[in-house]
């Protein structure tokens, strides 16, 4: 929908030279496009962004004072971030490369320095925690990372030791320079796993030959010379990392799960040492059957030796606090904690405390502090942690202890739950903030319309009910009108009441109770499914989380598919969403049916799915409760319907011969089509095989079922119509060649009819490789690939047309469309790589389309589809000008005004979701990845909305003035006429 002014501009100047016109066109076009940008006062008005960091792996608090405000986390998304511990807001965040290259192996904090080993021992980094700046970065020698620790000499921490598979190195803390590096002796046989420094002149490296012996090597801190090397018999020991800790004055404490015994060994002993065994039985301790006991110790300061107290975990909810006596080989139990979920040590000043989380009741846990020396409970230190029934169980405890003014120990606690959420709690149990970090990994989402308000629902209900006769109908109508009047009066009263209050006090809190559809359906419920198995319901207007539901027992590699079976349109039936969760290894699937508005699980009988599910398809068939039917195809090509009521099965039997579906086995390159039979079995009706030796299928996309196309064709310059080939069953299949040589690599694009298996078009993009991103919509496919020859990203657009005549204009049937469409294609250079791509979607499809392109820089580009038009002429003619076609230019522009998220970068965009709103001009956009960004786009500008600054006063005053002017002039004219008549 471009303004007609453009058209007029050109038709007025036919005499201007063509060249000038071209440039003028470009200039004008760019001028026009500039106006698409966001105005300063619109920032944050229709959009919001939420930033996440992912699942916390390491967390540290700034310093042990009460006033400290910072909290540092390193996460599985390769992010190092700092939160404000008072609000939970992100202070700063460093996003490293994805994948193993950026993995954070360890994170140590000392004073202002945060030390980090990144990329399996590739880099050692030091960050300034105050401002989040990088102090220094050192490249480490090759070899996989094992362990790292701070090394102190004479009470000051000056070095950091990094243990790798075959070498140990010592680095200065101040500048990262390497002090020394030594190869570890006998690196093939011995697995070196731990490094220990207790503030002495030596650094100890512990290695193990599994089930044989333990090796202890002492290095001199000065020059890295080996001062001692011992070998201790330990046939029961398989891993130092998992079963040993250092406690007290350098005593190695190990636990053997087979014999239920603790072993102690003084590391620094001069003579040949030996493990001394203490049976757990002798301490009156018993390990839960099948549980691997775990030791937890604490070294409050690197310059001093660790505490002689330590925890031994004996079961999932059983911990014991033990103390190593001064003699170094006897152990005294201090306190038994059963039940106890989590334990943690915390140190402030000279005091070290142990925090223990114990279950209190169904909905809460209690956290208490205990004195480490005696095991006594500290008074007034109970914190209540509320257990969310829709959340995960507590997973990890991070305690921030500090000394209060009266020298007693106070603390705050950060609890990490299984659903990756972080909750920060203050005494005596106030939840300060919660961060839902599961949202850093959204897998799929849907937007669902909000329900109607009570009054709207009342009106709707009137139509839903069966008619009882004339008189009751009139009564019903009258009663609903009365209710409407009542609601309107209440609304007026509220307006009047609130008008007297200052504006700041009027709050529009969104709660689940007040949710209702707005006039233009711009506010919707975003249902987001995350990889951790937690579902969220988010208000699209404010971004606040309205409900959450954690699905336990979801495998980490599960695949999700979210299906809206019933929308909000069928009052009084509640909307219904179904989440298909498929285990990728076994292929077995489970269904989770829920109400997308409230997040509650529906109590509907679910079908038994004993076999792996290959395909699911949502039919337009609805049952008597207006729920669309979901068909699940298992690996024996049997079909299960859900819901499977009698009504549905009957409908399916009637329609069976017109229900077709396709299956794709990308590992065999096989595409096959099936037809449903009356007995819900299937028959294979077509097969296309792309040999896997040549190319492999990387992606298949159909069209979105809720997509509307308003115009059937395009009017060309000569006033004839070029009809679009609008096949709703068309699949775009993208392949990549198995040969990756830059000269021979190619990307294949196949357009296949999903019903008949007919290959509509088959194109090969030579010298190209993936990753291919593509959008398939209307009558076009846009794909992006990497050109291996020219080393650049390119966009290609395919458009399909039936020609100037339609074969059958009333209905489209794949079975009756014998002529192949005309295919037009054009390719452009795109000056940036992209991460994802999606097309805008509006309610009626009148608005012109834009492509939303997620760039690695964090910007989301709204690229007009007009630029990707294979009919862009190379030479401008009268006809192409008439059609508003932009002359072909090989390079696609990126204008910063097209960035719909202006400076709100969204990192690692994984997907863009578009949904139509009630306004034809407006499309709702959600970009998700590490961050979530929601906004509205107006591809053809807001042609159906009056502007915010629309001058109502002016227009009405002009109207009134004109009205009075007419009245007066009429009167004057009358008088004049009368006078003339008298003359």
């Amino acid at each position: 929908m471009f303004p007609p002014s453009l058209n007029v501009t050109f038709s007025k100047k036919p005499s201007v030279k063509m060249a000038k016109l071209t440039s003028l066109f470009v200039v004008l076009f760019s001028l026009f496009c500039i106006s698409e940008a966001v105005f300063e006062d619109q920032v944050g008005k229709f959009d919001w962004r939420q930033q996440y960091v992912g699942k916390t792996l390491f967390a540290h608090f700034e310093s042990n004072t009460q006033s400290s405000k910072k909290l540092f986390v390193a996460t599985d998304k390769n992010i190092f971030a700092s939160f404000n511990s008072r609000t939970g807001d992100l202070l700063w965040r460093h996003v490293d490369k994805t994948g193993p290259e950026g993995t954070i192996d360890t994170f140590l904090l000392h004073g202002q320095d945060a030390l980090m080993v990144v990329g399996d021992g590739r880099l050692l980094r030091s960050w300034d925690t105050n401002i989040g700046g990088l102090n220094w970065e050192a490249v480490l020698d090759t070899g996989s990372f094992q362990a790292a620790c701070f090394v102190a000499i004479q009470d000051t921490v000056k070095h950091v030791a990094v243990l790798k598979k075959a070498a140990i190195s010592l680095h200065y803390l101040s500048n990262g320079h390497q002090k020394w590096v030594e190869n570890l002796p006998d690196g093939d046989a011995v697995q070196y796993q731990a490094v220990y420094s207790g503030g002495e002149e030596e650094l100890y490296v512990l290695g193990v030959v599994p089930n044989s012996h333990l090796t202890i090597i002492a290095y001199s801190l000065e020059d890295g010379e080996i001062t001692k090397q011992r070998s201790v018999e330990a046939p029961w020991l398989s891993s130092v990392e998992s079963s040993c800790v250092v406690v007290g004055q350098g005593v190695l404490m190990c636990v053997d799960p087979a014999t239920f015994a603790l072993y102690t060994l003084p590391i620094q002993a001069e003579e040949t040492p030996e493990f001394s065994q203490i049976l757990l039985q002798s301490l009156d301790l018993k390990v839960s059957p099948g549980f691997q006991p775990v030791l937890v110790s604490s070294q409050p300061h690197p310059a001093r030796s660790p505490l002689s107290e330590f925890f031994l975990q004996l079961g999932t909810d059983h911990h014991v606090l033990l103390q190593l006596n001064a003699d170094g080989y006897t152990i005294a139990p201090l306190r038994d904690f059963q039940p106890s979920f989590l334990v943690s040590f915390a140190t402030t000043g000279e005091k070290t405390v142990a925090a223990v989380m114990t279950p209190k009741n169904e909905t809460a846990c209690a956290i208490n502090l205990f004195s480490v020396d005696s095991g006594r409970r500290l008074l007034d230190t109970t914190v209540i942690f509320p257990l969310d029934l829709n959340g995960g169980k507590p997973h990890k405890l991070y305690v921030h202890a500090f000394l209060k003014k009266d020298d007693s120990v106070g603390y705050r606690v950060l609890v990490q739950t299984q659903d990756h959420a972080l909750t920060f709690i203050q005494q005596p149990g106030r939840v300060v903030w919660t961060r839902e970090e599961a949202l850093a990994d959204v897998v799929t989402m849907e937007m669902v319309d909000l329900p109607l308000t009570g009054t709207q629902a009342e009106l709707e209900g009137e139509f839903g009910k069966k008619a009882d006769g004339l008189f009751p109908m009139v009564l019903k109508r009258l009663s609903s009108q009365v209710i409407l009047l009542q609601a309107w009066l209440a609304h007026l009263w509220k307006l009047f009441y609130e008008a007297r209050k200052p504006r700041s006090q009027v709050k529009n809190e969104v709660t689940i109770e007040t949710l209702s559809r707005d006039e233009f359906n711009l506010q919707k419920m975003m249902v987001m499914v995350t990889a951790s198995g937690k579902l969220f319901g988010i208000d699209s207007k404010s971004g606040s989380i309205l409900w959450k539901h954690y699905l336990e027992n979801v495998q980490p590699n599960a695949a999700f598919k979210l299906i809206v079976q019933r929308t909000t349109a069928h009052f009084p039936h509640p909307p219904q969403c179904t989440l298909l969760i498929k285990d990728k290894d076994t292929g077995l699937a489970t269904l989770h049916v829920f109400n997308p508005i409230f997040g509650r699980k529906s109590h509907i009988a679910l079908p038994a799915l004993p076999r792996p599910i290959l395909q699911s398809l949502l039919l337009p068939v609805i049952d008597q409760d207006y729920a669309k039917v979901l068909l699940l195809v298992d690996d024996q090509y049997k079909v299960t319907a859900f819901p499977s009521t009698k009504n549905v099965l009957q409908q399916l039997q009637e329609m069976a011969s017109s229900i077709f579906f396709y299956l794709i086995h990308s590992d065999q390159g096989n595409l096959s089509g099936f037809r449903l039979r009356k007995d819900l079995s299937t028959e294979r009706i077509w097969e296309v095989v792309l040999p896997t030796e040549v190319q492999k299928i990387v992606a298949v996309k159909g069209k979105r079922p809720n997509e509307h196309v308003h115009s059937q064709g395009r009017v060309m310059g000569d006033r004839s119509v070029l009809y679009k080939y609008l096949n709703p069953n068309l699949l775009a299949v993208v392949t990549e060649s198995t040969d990756t040589h830059p000269e021979r690599a190619f990307v294949g694009v196949f357009l296949v009819d999903g019903v008949t298996g007919r290959i509509i078009h088959e194109a090969v993009q030579r010298k190209a490789r993936g990753p291919v991103h593509f959008v398939h919509s209307e009558n076009w496919v846009v794909y992006e690939y990497w050109n291996t020859k020219s080393r650049r990203n390119e966009f290609s657009v395919l458009e399909l047309f039936e020609g100037t005549e339609l074969y059958n204009s009333t209905v489209f049937s794949s079975l009756d469309r014998p002529h192949l469409p005309q295919v037009l294609q054009q390719t452009y250079i795109f000056p940036s790589p992209i991460t994802t791509m999606e097309a805008t979607l509006t309610e009626k499809g009148i608005t012109s389309r834009h492509l939303l392109v997620g760039l690695p820089s964090g910007a989301i580009l709204s690229l007009p589809k007009m630029f990707l038009d294979p009919r862009r002429p190379e030479v401008v003619t009268e006809h192409s000008r008439e059609e508003n076609l932009i002359p072909y230019a090989p390079e696609m522009p990126i204008r910063t005004e097209w960035f719909i998220n202006y400076n709100q970068t969204v990192l690692r965009v994984k997907g863009i979701y578009t949904a139509p709103s009630g306004l034809e001009s407006t499309c709702l956009v959600v970009a998700y990845g590490l961050d979530i960004y929601q906004t509205r786009v107006y591809p053809s500008k807001q042609f159906d909305v009056l502007k915010d600054d629309y001058d109502y006063v002016l227009i009405s005053s002009v109207l009134f003035a004109l009205f009075f002017a007419t009245m007066i002039s009429k009167r004057l004219a009358q008088v004049k006429l009368l006078n003339r008549a008298w003359r």
């Binding site: 030279k17 060249a19 000038k20 071209t22 011969s657 037809r675 039979r677 028959e683 294979r684 009706i685 077509w686 097969e687 296309v688 095989v689 792309l690 040999p691 040549v694 190319q695 004839s720 070029l722 190619f746 294949g748 694009v749 296949v752 008949t756 298996g757 007919r758 290959i759 078009h761 088959e762 194109a763 090969v764 993009q765 030579r766 050109n787 390119e794 290609s796 047309f801 100037t804 059958n808 079975l815 009756d816 469309r817 014998p818 192949l820 005309q822 295919v823 037009l824 294609q825 390719t827 452009y828 250079i829 009919r871 002429p873 190379e874 030479v875 072909y888 230019a889 090989p890 390079e891």
Partner: protein, 250 residues
């Protein structure tokens, strides 16, 4: 642009061979023709089968033989026999119950015949039996190959494609297939047209740039500068008197 000829799309369409068997040729099976072609060293023949059953369970029978010739100019031809009386009746019955008429060809490679690597499996396609009957066995069969010459798909459509429920009275109409056979290789997607664009830009530049560049600043605006100078001179000479006049007025 709109009138891109269809031949552009179907680059490798080779004119097809329509085989109309004479009445006496009912014993002339496709296999026989195929045997005869074995002497042709560059081409080979593969069976072409069809299936139409009232109960929709596939039972493929021989319909004819496809002669394929790979290499630079891929060509394909089909030799097929007439439908027997029994087949005609079955086809009509299938058409009445809205069954499917399926065809299949084995997966073969057009270029890689030396290795004789037999790939297992078939490529299948279907069309509604009623449309085949109503079109009097006029079908268009298309074979699709990939870049390296493997057959990847087959499709069948009838012209006209609709089922209107018209009765086919004449038995003769259902005796012989009127087949149009094509083989389609993938088209090469276009690359960005940089060369052409640069050429066009150069031409435009030349057209516009030359006369303008030659003109210097003075050459362009000499009349303005001259006019300005004259005006300045005139005003400076006239200033004293004018100034005096102003003073007097005030």
């Amino acid at each position: 642009m709109a009138s891109v000829p269809r031949s552009f799309l179907l680059l490798s369409i080779i004119p097809t061979i329509l085989i109309l068997c004479a009445d006496f040729a009912c014993c002339n099976t496709g296999r026989k023709t195929g045997d005869g072609l074995d002497t042709d060293f560059s081409g080979f023949s593969v069976p072409f089968e069809h299936s139409f059953e009232v109960d929709d369970v596939s039972r493929f029978r021989m319909r004819g033989a496809l002669q394929l010739r790979g290499g630079r100019e891929t060509s394909v031809s089909l030799s097929q026999s007439q439908l027997s009386e029994e087949d005609r009746n079955t086809l009509k019955e299938v058409a009445v119950v809205d069954g499917l008429y399926k065809i299949r060809v084995p997966r073969v490679s057009l270029t890689d015949r030396q290795t004789e690597r037999q790939m297992d499996g078939y490529l299948t396609a279907f069309v509604r039996a009623c449309s085949l009957v109503e079109s009097h066995l006029s079908d268009v069969i298309t074979l699709h190959t990939d870049v390296s010459g493997y057959l990847i798909g087959v499709s069948i459509v009838t012209i006209p494609g609709a089922c209107r429920g018209t009765e086919v009275e004449d038995e003769v109409d259902l005796e012989a297939f009127n087949t149009t056979l094509t083989i389609i290789a993938p088209t090469n997607a276009p690359q960005p047209e940089t060369a052409l664009f640069i050429e066009r830009m150069d031409i435009e530049h030349e057209k516009r740039g030359k006369p303008q560049e030659q003109k210097s600043f003075f050459a362009k605006y000499w009349y303005l500068i001259l006019g300005g100078a004259i005006f300045l001179m005139a005003s400076s000479s006239a200033q004293p008197s004018a100034g005096g006049a102003e003073e007097q007025q005030s």
